[in-house]
């Protein structure tokens, strides 16, 4: 067997995963079937807020093929309450969260009954025969109105719509000075209110779950990002013994936080399958997905930035209202809190205060969506920096540089108490400016402005950082998160020299099978092809905390590396015995133990075979090289980058066209550059979509009007530009690999770059904000002197691509 020579890490390896995906040999949950499979269909509330006064399911029970029909009352005890793992404050208020509503519905789309039938179509047909009487309650849709005195209440039993109030104050924490004093003494104040609109994760594979209770263990296949968390939570929620549950995430078609959830449908499928003793499957339609799968973002941000006339920032105050929707799902309350540490971004604010009120409304619950809390924060601060630059008549990049942490100031402890390990904002920005042609574009902008061109050029900047590698268990604990953030891995040497890598990370498009193989190939000196990565099944990868928060490489792959180190340590002892030398005399490179200064060598694969035979091992040594490790880092990682966007804005139509998009990201050491580039592209697409196209809109009765892909505008290939991407590489010091994570970077950075560009294009019309998404209608209205800020123009379904559907939103 030949050892690998050229390092695998850093190589543009094509993905192992692709072979099955490009030929259709896939294992999506909905592809799977088992003998005697029954199908579920859910009846969902058409109204946003009502008491259920009666449900009649008798006619549905008699429909062809129907095996059973259950209401919330039928399952009330067994279904328990859906879990929320993140009580952000000790006095957080939370209503019970039944999977099937029992006596009240709190958002349109909430499930109220489930039909079990032999065929999927039969199950759906029977839904029509269910009769529900609703007694309307007042809807609660507007965040600001929801927290006003005397507001209608979503959950009257709680006595308030406020779930929690969470505060960080740098003066109180001793990490900075008093923001009120900074504001009082400010020479310049920038005060804005921004709306982070509600988005829908909209992964392409609809959610699906299949539960087979006929084995000794009940097996749950689910289109989930979190098989391990799901297993524990299903056990705790339904009382099923944890060891009697096996959860498998087979091929999973994207998640973006949207499949970081314990869903009502998963719980109901388990409860119903257990009750009937029969396997059941549910696969959602796209409309069901948009309506009832959790949404993301949705904040009202009141911001005050204090500065001196010379451009030095002196304080930042953030007051948020964050929309929880009708219930607290798995990590709902913690999402805005993740942003608490990011509003100060890369800048040296001496004083900072963040307060967030989590608010219930009668809308679909919100939860994690790519970036979760950090895009909201980054968008706000990057918009504010442009506003400060405009106020002072300064170049926005130069103003940022005046305030950001210089490369020789790392490690740097921020005003929130986070320690940024490394970074080089100067390098990334210089490279981005050059690729962009920043000075030329500014010159062109001046020329076109003077000429009064009807199409105006705008330039937007975003110099972002993020905290990712969501892990340090102690930090998560200090934020009251209900679990740790470690990750687990195992490395198994097979007798034939092949290697199995077991990981608790659960990929759904990220390419872990390829990247983990590259890392292990280098470490053990075995060929890339000889490594198999096992994941996504609680039977083969028994421990894990799954994939979200750009944590897989920084935490999950680090666990793999640690397990590999143990394998080598065990093998070294046996190799020394085989070659009759001392362990210290051996060096291990390229898969071989060599006696220093000699030609004598033994491959680790030969050691694996010797261990398998176990005929001649040192005394007290167990016949196995297999090792496992659990890794918990000390700190987050902090990728950063500079994104520059140029837009052409047609001042007569309000239409925005992205002309150029350049980004230079620093994600630390890169394991596989093509996977990294792909992650950046996909992240950019979602961030741009927030800036220009996407918004979940509810009408005045609380009905989602963007309930199909014709109304909720996921951009197509035509709607997105070509991206010019590049990297600088400042290795992280918080992990041995030097990696920082890349899953969320593009999304976090790009939204404010685009909005800044749009506002920059039309600022000379007196515009200082345009609410997202910057649809032609909103841009045109801003130019023509209409309302532009968060209190401005009503939302419009389908506006982003020039649609004329203006059926207004109430929110």
């Amino acid at each position: 067997m030949t050892a690998t020579v050229e390092p695998e890490v850093g190589k543009a390896r094509l993905r192992k995963e692709d072979a099955r995906l490009i030929t259709g040999r896939t294992r999506w949950t909905d592809n799977l079937t088992v003998p005697g499979l029954l199908h579920l269909a859910f009846l969902r509330s058409p109204v946003a807020h009502a008491r259920i006064t009666a449900i009649d399911v008798e006619a549905a029970r008699r429909k062809p093929g129907v095996i059973a029909v259950f209401t919330g009352r039928d399952l009330a005890e067994a279904q328990g309450s859906l879990p929320c793992a993140w009580p952000v404050t000790a006095d957080q208020k939370a209503p019970p969260a039944p999977s099937l509503a029992v006596d009240q519905v709190n958002f349109a789309g909430e499930a109220v009954a489930v039909v079990v039938a032999r065929g999927k179509a039969q199950a759906h047909d029977a839904l029509e025969a269910i009769d529900v009487d609703y007694e309307d309650l007042p809807v609660v849709l507007d965040l600001a109105a929801a927290v006003a005195d005397g507001a209608d209440l979503v959950h009257p039993d709680l006595g308030t719509n406020k779930s929690a109030h969470w505060v960080f104050d740098s003066a109180e924490a001793g990490t900075g000075s008093d923001v009120e004093q900074a504001i009082a003494e400010a020479e310049v104040l920038v005060e804005r209110t921004y709306r982070q609109q509600r988005l829908i994760p909209a992964f392409m594979e609809p959610r699906s779950v299949l539960v087979d209770p006929t084995g000794e263990q009940t097996t749950v296949w689910s289109a989930t990002q979190i098989p391990h968390i799901l297993r524990l939570m299903l056990a705790l929620t339904t009382g099923t013994p944890e060891h009697k549950l096996r959860v498998i995430a087979p091929d999973v078609g994207g998640g973006f936080g949207g499949k970081l959830q314990v869903t009502p449908e998963e719980v109901v499928a388990l409860v119903v399958a257990t009750r009937l003793g029969k396997p059941v499957k549910w696969t959602e339609s796209r409309s069901e997905s948009l309506l009832s799968a959790h949404h993301g973002r949705d904040q009202l941000q009141k911001l005050t930035l204090a500065a001196r006339r010379d451009g030095t920032v002196t304080g930042l105050k953030v007051e948020l209202l964050a929309d929880m929707g009708a219930y607290l799902r798995l990590v709902t309350p913690g999402v805005p809190i993740l942003g608490a540490f990011m509003f100060n971004a890369i800048y040296k604010f001496p004083a900072y205060r963040f307060e967030c009120t989590n608010v219930f409304t009668t809308k679909t619950p919100t939860d994690a969506y790519r970036g979760a809390g950090r895009p909201e924060a980054t968008c706000a601060i990057e918009r504010l920096m442009d506003e400060l630059a405009a106020e002072l008549g300064r170049d926005p990049i130069e103003l940022r540089e005046q305030n950001w942490i210089k490369h020789d100031e790392f490690p740097f402890t921020t005003v929130c108490g986070l320690e940024y390990d490394t970074g080089n904002y100067e390098a990334a920005t210089a490279k981005a400016k050059e690729m962009f042609g920043y000075d030329q574009l500014r010159a062109e902008q001046r020329e076109r402005r003077e000429r009064g061109d009807t199409v105006q050029l705008g330039i937007g900047t975003s110099t972002f950082t993020e905290m990712c590698g969501l892990a340090p268990s102690r930090v998560l604990g200090s934020l009251s998160y209900g679990a740790g953030g470690w990750e687990h891995a195992a490395v198994r040497m097979l007798p034939s020299g092949k290697v199995e890598v077991v990981t608790g990370s659960s990929a759904h498009g990220q390419g872990h099978e390829t990247a983990w193989s590259q890392i292990v190939a280098d470490q053990l000196g075995v060929p890339f092809e000889d490594i198999e990565v096992l994941h996504g099944d609680t039977q083969s990868s028994p421990r894990g905390l799954d994939t979200y928060g750009s944590r897989s490489l920084t935490v999950g792959a680090m666990a793999v590396l640690k397990a590999g180190e143990k394998v080598i340590r065990k093998a070294r002892r046996i190799a020394a015995h085989m070659m009759e030398c001392a362990e210290d005399d051996l060096e291990f490179t390229a898969g071989k133990f060599t006696v220093k200064g000699t030609e004598r060598a033994t491959a680790i694969t030969d050691v694996a075979l010797a261990v398998f035979a176990a005929h001649d091992l040192p005394d007290g040594v167990e016949p196995s090289l297999d090792s496992e490790a659990t890794f918990d880092p000390d700190n987050f990682s902090f990728p950063h980058g500079t994104h520059l966007c140029a837009v052409d804005v047609d001042t007569e139509t309000g239409f925005v066209k992205i002309r150029k998009y350049v980004c230079v990201d620093d994600v630390g050491v890169v394991v596989n550059p093509i996977i990294v580039e792909g992650q950046v592209h996909g992240g950019l697409a979602q961030g741009l979509a927030q800036a220009l196209y996407e918004e979940a809109v509810h009408d005045e009765s609380g009905t989602l009007t963007t309930g199909t892909l014709a109304d909720y505008l996921i951009p197509s290939a035509v709607d997105l530009p070509h991206f010019d991407t590049d990297r600088t590489e400042t290795p992280a010091t918080s992990n041995q690999l030097g990696v920082k994570g890349v899953g969320e970077a593009g999304t976090i950075a790009s939204t404010p770059a685009v909005v800044n560009a749009v506002v920059d294009a039309v600022r000379h019309f007196g515009v200082n904000d345009i609410q997202m998404p910057c649809t032609p209608m909103r841009v045109w209205t801003a130019i023509n002197g209409g309302p532009t800020d968060a209190g401005g123009l009503g939302t419009e379904a389908g506006g982003g691509l020039g649609s004329i559907d203006t059926s207004g939103g109430a929110a």
Binding site: T23, T26, A685, T708, L709, I714
Partner: protein, 166 residues
């Protein structure tokens, strides 16, 4: 109703409900689960197959309408164990992440290239407008289609992939 369809070279005769969509017939009756369903409004293109040589969204065709037709799915593209050049180009250009949109994207790309063997970037983007991808931002898909166009040109040697090896 009884219909006969030829899918990826094999002929199947089955009784179907008149309301059965072609995509469900392919997935549930014939077992061609390589073709997937991503929406219920014919917007996403995940279900794209070739029906008598033309790409169609198989969620917008009734199974009975396909009676007597010849259908190719992503599972029927490889010949003698060799990938179709478009499949190969998707792999070589990292044009997929989760891969859910990929069968539809590949089928639509083949159709696009049949109509326009040498598309520029904008032509590819327009040709794929009816196929949504949430993972890739489309850039590598566009690159893959143009790469495939080069490979499909008569007499061309295979274009160099960006990755080091497959």
């Amino acid at each position: 109703m009884r219909i006969t369809v030829t899918v990826d070279g094999t002929t199947y005769t089955d009784d179907v409900e008149p309301r059965q969509l072609l995509v469900h017939h392919l997935r549930e009756t014939i077992g061609k689960t390589g073709t997937v369903v991503g929406c219920d409004t014919s917007n996403c293109g995940s279900c794209t197959v070739h029906l008598d040589g033309q790409s169609v969204k198989s969620c917008s065709v009734l199974a009975v309408q396909a009676d007597g037709a010849e259908i190719t799915t992503v599972e029927g593209l490889a010949r003698d164990g060799a990938l179709h050049p478009v499949q190969q180009a998707f792999h070589d250009n990292h044009a997929l992440q989760c891969g859910f949109c990929t069968p539809g994207m590949i089928m639509q790309s083949i159709d696009l290239l049949a109509d326009n063997p040498d598309p520029d970037e904008q032509a590819v983007r327009h040709g794929l407008e009816g196929n949504l991808c949430r993972c890739t931002g489309y850039q590598n898909i566009v690159r893959a289609v143009q790469d495939a166009a080069d490979r499909l040109k008569p007499g061309s040697t295979q274009a160099q992939p960006v990755g080091s090896e497959s």
